[in-house]
């Protein structure tokens, strides 16, 4: 009731509360956990629900059938995870679990507290945990993230409260992080199917939730009502609010107007740079920034780039000089300011700021040494290698997958490369699906990509990219890098591991397999009365601490 638009809705709210009670009666009917069903609605005294707006979409509630942020954003509120990261921390600590640790190099053992239950009253035991991982691997849904469980050999449950993960390779430092992410959600074996994706409606009807919240009303990709789950006993403190309503938008401009007008309390993912800039000058809302895991970069195809291995004039030294000259010429600050108005910040290495082991390897190596471009240095690099200028470079970007500003970003890159006459850039764009097929088929000599981490560890910025077998398929291969990447993943001493991660970045920065450009900040915009919005390096916006 803080501003006019709230007043306008006051009467509606009264009606809402009444119908909420009806629902509580329905959902409590077939289970013995009335407590959870009526928790949020019963004590609406603790505050009217917080309305969160987003443009991310849900694929499916079932954790086995999704591999996208929109689904994770909901799953993370309603499903329990064995381990997690606490607010503003990047260390993996027990969440649902009592303890979680390596008991031998290939055994990761988790113990659960006694007497855990799902919101519907079903017992939550080690058997549910085993079921969750086994079904994910068995279903191997094409839209799912079961491939992240690449190192999981089998799950064993010696007793009701103990789970032992048998891993394929020893001392995997990454596995605990994966447990905090997509495939780590635990589901109720009495509700979910063992061999197929369970429909959202069935999950909601069975109240098969075990996270900080349950879903008490679910209108697919329109509105979701979250009500605090009293059965949850994990790491995160009990929700400080009486409930959350998640409202979906398609257009960021509509989301922006909605938060500006007070129709939603918090807007999270994704507002355009213009929206954020405009809202940051608006007294009725606050802009909250957090570290971002999202990175944007240019990939070089080592076969087809100028002087690449598969071109007629193949020359490794010249090819490297071309990549270096590009690195010398790009002006990240200009892109960050002009195109993204600071919602993305310059990125000078492969592991972004905020992760253990992040460096700024490229800052010293290229440009003027302080992050700004240096045309003379680029000219010198090319001349030293005997490269004829202007270098003809074909650069590709995608207009529809990495946000609407990609076109502006790459137009600026083109203009920066061409400004000194060293490059002649042929800039083209291709629609996403075709783009995805073409880029791995060696069609593009240099192209745009972006990355949003699967889990919050530096490894996720190295292994998928720079091993010889990588998802880029850009024919980059450096045996030293391969060895170091494989080593860091199994190095148990944190300091030693960090040193390795830094060394990998230094080496790759010399090779320039890819050219990192920008790192995205997480941005949420909230009404001035909203408190507790926490955006940290978990890259999950957790509803529990938000209050109004």
């Amino acid at each position: 009731m803080r501003n006019q638009s709230h007043l306008r809705r006051a009467a509606v709210v009264a009606g809402f509360a009444a119908s909420a009670l009806t629902l509580a009666a329905c959902s409590g009917g077939d289970s013995d956990a009335d407590a959870s069903g009526s928790a949020g609605t019963g004590d609406t005294g603790s505050g009217e629900p917080i309305i969160v707006g987003t443009t991310d979409k849900v694929t499916t509630l079932d954790p086995a059938g999704s591999y996208d942020n929109g689904s994770l954003a909901v799953q993370t509120q309603v499903f329990p995870y064995l381990v997690n990261t606490d607010y503003n921390s990047t260390d993996v600590v027990p969440d649902l679990a009592e303890t979680a640790e390596f008991t031998s190099p290939t055994e990761y053992t988790v113990t659960l507290p006694e007497g855990l239950t799902w919101a519907n009253g079903n017992a939550l035991t080690s058997s549910d945990v085993k079921f969750s991982f086994d079904r994910n691997l068995a279903i191997a849904d094409p839209n799912g993230a079961s491939s992240l469980l690449y190192n999981l050999d089998s799950v064993e449950t010696p007793d009701e409260t103990t789970v032992v993960f048998h891993l394929k390779t020893a001392d995997d430092q990454v596995f605990p992080f994966i447990l905090t992410s997509f495939p780590g959600a635990i589901v109720d074996e009495e509700v979910f199917a063992a061999d197929a994706i369970t429909p959202d409606a069935d999950i909601v009807a069975a109240n098969a939730f075990g996270g900080p919240y349950t879903i008490t009303a679910y209108d697919f990709n329109k509105t979701v009502e979250f009500t605090p789950n009293e059965a949850y006993q994990g790491l995160l403190a009990a929700p400080a609010n009486g409930g959350v309503i998640l409202s979906y938008f398609a257009e960021s401009s509509n989301l922006k107007l909605a938060v500006q007008e007070g129709d939603v309390d918090v807007a999270y993912r994704s507002l355009s740079a213009t929206d954020v800039e405009d809202l940051s000058g608006n007294d009725a809302v606050q802009v909250i920034n957090g570290p971002g895991g999202e990175i944007r970069y240019i990939v070089f195809n080592f076969d087809t780039q100028p002087y690449g291995a598969a071109t007629p004039e193949a020359d490794e030294a010249k090819a490297l000089a071309v990549r270096q000259a590009v690195a010398d010429l790009v002006d990240r600050d200009a892109i960050s300011e002009q195109v993204y108005k600071g919602t993305y910040t310059p990125l000078y290495s492969y592991v972004p700021e905020g992760f253990a082991g992040a460096t700024e390897s490229l800052k010293d190596l290229y440009g003027d040494g302080a992050g700004a471009p240096d045309a003379d240095k680029a000219a010198q690099t090319l001349a030293d290698a005997g490269v004829e200028t202007p270098v003809k470079l074909s650069l590709q970007y995608n207009p529809d997958h990495y946000g609407p500003s990609s076109g502006d970003e790459y137009a600026l890159v083109k203009s920066q490369l061409e400004a000194t006459g060293l490059f002649e850039v042929d800039l083209k764009s291709t629609e996403w699906v075709q783009y995805s097929e073409d880029r791995t088929a060696d069609v593009y000599p240099a192209y745009q990509l972006g990355w949003f981490p699967d889990y919050s560890d530096a490894d996720n910025y190295l292994t998928p990219f720079f091993l010889t077998e990588n998802f880029l398929g850009n024919h980059y291969s450096n045996p030293d890098v391969d060895e170091m990447i494989l080593n860091q993943a199994v190095t148990t001493d944190p300091a030693e591991r960090t040193a390795l991660i830094e060394q990998i970045q230094d080496t790759v920065a010399g090779d320039l397999s890819t050219l990192p450009l920008l790192q995205g900040a997480q941005v949420a915009v909230a009404g001035t009365g909203i408190e507790g919005v926490t955006l940290d390096a978990s890259f999950k916006f957790r509803f529990a601490p938000v209050t109004k």
Partner: protein
């Protein structure tokens, strides 16, 4: 003797002479707007202060979302382009799409209409059913699917123009097909075709000439209305993110799409110019089409003081009236 007659028979010129009063006013207004649009398109390189993908000049980057100034009369876009230049260059893209779309659909539509009407039989029936199915389907939905299918490749200016044009064409063809086929079926049954065959003239040739002559009343109207629709479809595709990227060409719908956030933030100069450009271009072309439509239909034509002979009016109205009854043959 033949010369003025020929000039008279040219579409638009013919109508301009025919029109009186308000109808003439509308037609002239349409012609002026459309003329301005075509001039902008043709002389874009001369008229536009900067290139459509130019981000900087000797004085450095233009900067993004700069308000109107002496250097940039209409300010700059969120991507840092000069708004005025992009609006002017956008006319060129729109005109190209119109030309390609109309040419393609006229050509294919007439060809299919001739074939269908002339051959008859199951070919005709299949074509008619297909054309009707496509005709009845929402234009934009089909254009969206077609645009995605066609633009699978890279989005250069020409591939972008063709993607938009072809997706529009798919939906236009049935209209030409319909008119031409009806005319062919009518002409085919007339006696002079047989006599032409007897003296050994090519039936195809005769039909083609007759059909075209008899379609000159309706085809220009459809062409103008389709041209207007082409501009709107291009803009709609651009707005839905299926348009031409700014580095390949300037496109009004794309610029409008990019300016949505600006409008919400009170930055008016990036959205209004391309929006107004679309409105004026479509308004101009549609005014011409409407006027021609009126003039083609004697019942709608504004009455001159000294009317044409009643017989003339009947002769003119005959095919139109018949078609209006929903009859094809």
């Amino acid at each position: 003797m033949t010369k003025p007659r020929l000039l008279d028979r040219l579409p638009v010129v013919h109508q301009l002479r025919q029109a009186v009063g308000l109808q003439r006013g509308m037609l002239v207004a349409g012609l002026v707007l459309t003329g301005a649009f075509v001039v902008l398109a043709l002389l874009a390189p001369v008229l536009a202060p900067y290139g459509y993908s130019q981000l900087a000049d000797d004085a450095g980057n233009f900067g993004a979302q700069q308000p109107p100034s002496a250097e940039h009369w209409l300010g700059t876009t969120v991507g840092g382009y000069d708004v005025l230049s992009r609006v002017i260059w956008g006319a060129r893209t729109a005109l190209l799409v119109i030309i390609v779309a109309v040419l393609l659909s006229v050509f294919v539509g007439i060809l299919l209409g001739l074939v269908s009407g002339y051959l008859g039989g199951w070919v005709d029936r299949v074509l008619v059913v297909v054309a009707d199915a496509i005709y009845a389907f929402p234009t934009l939905l089909l254009a969206i699917v077609a645009a995605i299918a066609i633009s699978g490749g890279q989005s250069g200016m020409w591939s972008g123009v063709f993607a938009a044009a072809i997706s529009i064409t798919v939906v236009f063809i049935p209209q030409y097909f319909r008119v031409v086929r009806a005319e062919v079926v009518r002409v085919k049954s007339e006696a002079f075709i047989e006599s032409a065959q007897v003296i050994g003239a090519s039936t195809w040739r005769i039909m083609f000439r007759h059909v075209l002559r008899n379609s000159t009343r309706t085809l220009p109207v459809i062409v103008t209305l389709n041209a207007a629709e082409a501009v709107l479809t291009l803009a709609a595709l651009g707005f839905l993110g299926l348009g031409i990227e700014p580095t390949s060409a300037a496109e009004w719908g794309f610029d409008l799409n990019k300016s949505i956030s600006d409008v919400a933030a009170g930055i008016w100069w990036t959205a209004v110019p391309p929006g107004v450009a679309i409105i004026l271009a479509v308004l101009g072309i549609t005014l011409i089409g409407e006027s021609m439509n009126d003039l083609a239909d004697p019942r709608l034509r504004a009455r001159r003081r000294g009317k044409g002979t009643p017989a003339d009016a009947v002769a003119q109205s005959e095919p139109v009236a018949r078609e209006e009854m929903g009859e094809v043959q």
